[in-house]
Symmetry: C2
């Protein structure tokens, strides 16, 4: 594993993006989001994902010059069209606008249609929480998850993000609705390990912890089985209805053609109601109650969502971002 | 199982509530919510739960005359104090206010602290969706769920409701964050059946489908294991921070003393952005895509959340509400 400085990574990616038609500013912003994702330890959706992002630009799914446009607004609520622009820039702009609305109205919501994969969803949660706001956002995805009781992937794994500001560091939940992604199943398979909990059905229709069996059946489990199945459906409905964009069933199931997504960005401004000094205390007390829980395995403390992020961020800033050599070599050729 | 007319049930419960100190109007409203819950087929939280609700009034946890009070407001966002009043009346008032705010601002949110158990959470989702609004609400609860990696119940099962309006009938997700409630575990135990999926850990720390083993260990699973564990934490944080109310760790773990809950009620007004005629079509198309999914068991069609409700509601309205004879006898004595 190579280590490359944050600045070098960002500048290298930005250079590639400029050659693909991004303006200087947008190339830097888009590259920064990729570098920050790797820096925060979400390696699947940072630099390692960049070549696939470039492929979606080259094949026309992502328009590097397209900017999101405000289509309608009513008070704290707005609808934007992502114009098939870069998904992470669109999502950043949408959360930024929801945050601005929440400064004026206490709450703000932007429904964004016709956009592209937002890469790491947690990015937009951190964006809100680091500004002192609660951020809630979700996206629909291509069909990749069977509903409970069904055998075909008609639902999306629709990642959901809920981020809470806190002086000692935000608490950020960033979860897809599938129990394991296909990427995770593949990692377990390659290592020859069983999953820690049931991950889906085998070809015979039995629940299994065998990652290869789930890859074969293409029947991974939604979190909570019937519960996550229902959650995926309503998240898709709200995103598509509010944005007037596409629903999961209208999206291609080819990952390279997964374009035209619908997303919701919601910001809540807790300080608008006063008593800002109490807010972090409440969050700290909840964190303490979780940390105080006796651990099932004595060496592993119970953690809150996003707990590892700030430590990894500091470490990767200091040592340089980890990059897979062949991915980095590929990027240097672009 | 007896069948008793909706009106008879409502009037009987209202009579009990008046004798406990409710005003006539509030007694009727509170009784209606219990009767509607049973009518919609959520038997655990309707009439069958009424004796326990009465017990919380008698022991002083619920103040029958207390009304919720607006403590602070900023645009679309308000904080209310539930004054330890009846949880279902407080929740109804809070969602009603969030809905009114969404008519003015596109969005509305009421954070309600110092309230009591809201009984059936789905009630407030249906309330919003039947008025053409998207309703999202959640409550924290007493500690009843261990976090992932922990052995003590320091989290709540914090039910989450997401409701979507649709002309042919709302789509309403109403789910607790535990995979199975203790009530459900008990039902399986009594019938001598195994759970359909893992429901928790046994005393040896192994995942199990044996409901009795989970009752023994008091270690039920959150939905999605580490994912639901994180979701429970952030839902509690947002509710407690926005309401300045109690967090789960501050609540008694005695069900009869579970008072002073924190809740969030959020309404989104999709019609505020125009094109109301398209909204139901989008929802219908998603429903159709789910119904078209091949079923794992050919006789069981894949369902959307809340799908059975309208049929059960019509049936129970026509035939009368099912009541457990001993519960009904107990109510008639009150």
């Amino acid at each position: 594993m190579n280590r490359i400085s944050f600045e070098k990574v960002q500048d290298t990616l930005a250079g590639v993006l400029q050659r693909l038609g991004f303006s200087i500013d947008r190339a830097q912003a888009c590259a920064r989001l990729f570098a920050e994702t790797t820096c925060d330890g979400v390696y699947t959706h940072g630099v390692n994902r960049f070549p696939r992002f470039v492929a979606t630009i080259r094949d026309g799914s992502v328009d590097p010059q397209a900017e999101p446009r405000r289509m309608a607004g009513f008070g704290a609520l707005e609808r934007w069209d992502g114009s098939k622009g870069p998904g992470n820039l669109n999502a950043w702009a949408a959360m930024d606008r929801a945050m601005a609305l929440s400064r004026t109205h206490g709450l703000g919501c932007v429904a964004l249609g016709n956009t592209n994969h937002w890469m790491r969803g947690g990015t937009y949660g951190w964006q809100a929480a680091e500004a002192g706001l609660i951020g809630i956002c979700w996206t629909n995805t291509m069909p990749n998850l069977p509903p409970w009781g069904g055998t075909e992937p008609v639902l999306g794994n629709n990642p959901l993000v809920i981020a809470v500001p806190r002086e000692r560091g935000p608490v950020v939940l960033d979860m897809a609705i599938s129990q394991f992604s296909y990427g995770t199943l593949e990692s377990y398979s390659k290592r020859g390990e069983m999953l820690p909990v049931d991950g889906g059905f085998d070809e015979a229709g039995n629940l299994t912890r065998d990652p290869g069996a789930v890859e074969m059946s293409q029947r991974p489990l939604p979190i909570g089985c019937w519960k996550g199945s229902g959650l995926s459906i309503v998240l898709d409905m709200v995103a598509a209805m509010m944005s007037l964009g596409k629903a999961t069933h209208q999206l291609s199931s080819d990952p390279l053609l997964e374009t035209g997504l619908s997303q919701i960005f919601l910001a809540m401004n807790p300080e608008a109601l006063g008593t800002p000094e109490r807010l972090s205390e409440i969050a700290d007390e909840i964190v303490a109650s979780v940390h105080d829980c006796p651990a099932a395995e004595s060496e592993k403390r119970v953690r809150y969502p996003g707990e590892k992020t700030l430590r990894l961020r500091a470490e990767n800033r200091k040592l340089g971002l980890p990059a897979e050599p062949q991915v980095w070599a590929q990027i240097l050729e672009m």
